[in-house]
């Protein structure tokens, strides 16, 4: 301010004062902005403090407290009867559904992107509309169908259902990625003697790899976090994924083992948080199916 005043000798006393007052106001405003945004961020993050602190607390309880540091809860997760099984089950269910989703969606999306067939637009809108069908509203008839197909309480059944749930998003995302790969590249491959399918395999799919990766992560995280579908479709405790295992442990008649429950929660949430870090830039596209146009 002093320097400014020196190089601009014509600035009157009042003007300087005025500018000073305004910069005071901006400081207050700036502070206000930070206050609001930090409070909001704390509101979002604070509930996790208890989960994290309790998972490393030897005297774990329901209340937020300074932990007596220990890794025993995590050790117990891997040694206790039942809990390692939950992790293995979750990995298998999510991994297999993701693989199935991708295997189907890559070819489906290629067809949706590269062929101009009758009813394609309607089909795309239909797929988008299917995304809004709430699982809660179809779970009852789905349960009956699984019983009739003999797939109730089986991994095969659950994995097929989860893949079906992930397919609409996967088809949309992958179609978008394949759309952005120039047709000319593929045509060049045909001239070099590739068939339609080998052209797609050698040229398009390798270039769509980031899209396939993003798609895989989204599918995996969605299935990994699902609660309702395994709750209804699996009845044997030895088949439960982590979500159902945690629910039973939390609401069971036995005393809750908070240390074990929170260490399970931490192991359960860490992969999703990490995966989201990777796909953060695709988040918008995935949440609205690439539907939003400014």
């Amino acid at each position: 301010m002093a320097v400014e005043a020196a190089v601009r000798p014509l600035t009157s006393e009042t003007q300087v004062k005025h500018r000073r007052a305004r910069s005071g106001a901006t400081v207050v405003k700036h502070f206000g902005v930070y206050l609001v945004i930090v409070v909001l961020a704390l509101f979002c993050a604070v509930p996790f403090a208890w989960v994290l602190l309790t998972s490393v607390d030897a005297n774990a309880g329901l209340y937020l407290q300074a932990p007596t540091l220990t890794l025993d809860n995590f050790v117990r997760f891997f040694t206790e009867e039942g809990t390692p099984r939950l992790l293995a089950n979750s990995l298998w269910i999510s991994g297999a559904s993701t693989a199935l989703t991708l295997a189907f969606a890559i070819f489906g999306a290629y067809a949706l992107s590269r062929y101009r067939f009758f009813g394609r637009r309607t089909l795309m809108f239909g797929i988008l509309l299917i995304r809004v069908v709430p699982p809660t509203a179809t779970i009852v008839p789905l349960y009956m169908i699984m019983i009739n197909l003999g797939l109730n309480n089986t991994y095969t059944g659950l994995i097929l259902v989860e893949a079906a749930y992930q397919l609409p998003l996967a088809l949309w995302l992958l179609k978008g990625f394949i759309d952005s790969i120039p047709m000319e590249l593929e045509e060049a491959a045909w001239i070099d003697g590739c068939s339609r399918l080998t052209g797609a395999w050698r040229v398009v799919f390798p270039l769509a790899r980031p899209g396939v990766g993003a798609c895989a992560l989204f599918s995996f995280v969605n299935v990994w976090g699902d609660f309702l579908t395994p709750l209804v479709l699996l009845q044997s405790p030895e088949k439960y994924p982590i979500s159902i295992g945690m629910f039973r442990a939390f609401s069971g008649r036995n005393q809750v083992d908070w240390g074990l429950l929170t260490s399970t929660a931490v192991l359960y949430m860490v992969p999703t948080v990490l995966l989201y870090l990777f796909v953060r830039r695709y988040l918008l596209r995935a949440t609205v199916s690439g539907a939003l146009k400014g």
Binding site: F104, I130, F250, V288, A291
Partner: protein
Amino acid sequence: MSALLAPSMVLIAVFVLAPVVYAIWLSMTNKRLTGFGARTPKFVGAENYTRLLTSADFLNSMGRTAQFIFFSAIVGQFLLGMLAAVLLTKSSVRAKGIIGGAILLPMVVPEVVASLAWASMLAPGPEGTVNRGLAAVGFTPVSWLQEYPMASIIVVNTWRGIAFAMIMFQAAIEGVSDDLIEAARMDGAGAWKVFRYITLPLIRGPIFLFLLLTTITTASVFGLVYFLTRGGPGQATELVSVFIYERSFAFFQLGLGSAASVIMLVVVLILGLTYVRLAKVEV
């Protein structure tokens, strides 16, 4: 070509579309999970629907769902998400990565973990986290899930949805041309006026789409609430989604549960069709 699409279509048809059709059929029978109705369900026409629409239990669960959607999604997520989006698109704010990441957390963790975290936040007695915070400003401890169950799940669902609103609004705000804002500034408009008269009218479209989408997703929220309250105390937090689950799998009335599912489907599909029509999707 059809061979490429067929596997996806079959899977979707069998596990998503067939249940929708089957729900309509089941809703017109007296199908039960156990007993006589399990083996030979009878066609009962619209009986389940008339029963539902005259039962206080179901109508109340509809009312609670409407309340839940209105306060958590349309008011809570919208306002806080917009606030976060506006403040985080300000160039003067530092540490955007960390702040944005913190706001993203509630959305990215599995819903079971989100519920568990709030079980401790809302724990009754003076040791509960929320109670402890409020004690600092002179409040006496409250058993949140017992005394204010609806308000509690509304707060939890607002918390979980802020990030989604923020992501959508941030993208929309970034699309507003800087020139317009600059011009308004030159004309002497303050930050609030720029937001109210320039930004807000220009992002009306995305706002409307967000409201539709969040209404649809909030209508089907199940795990977040069921984990915390199981629809209780009594039926205080029995949303339609919880009603469907409880009727079908705790009371074994599949016909009745299916009728409730069909009603939910109709409402959601109307909203969904509006969304697809308005979203100007490129295919």
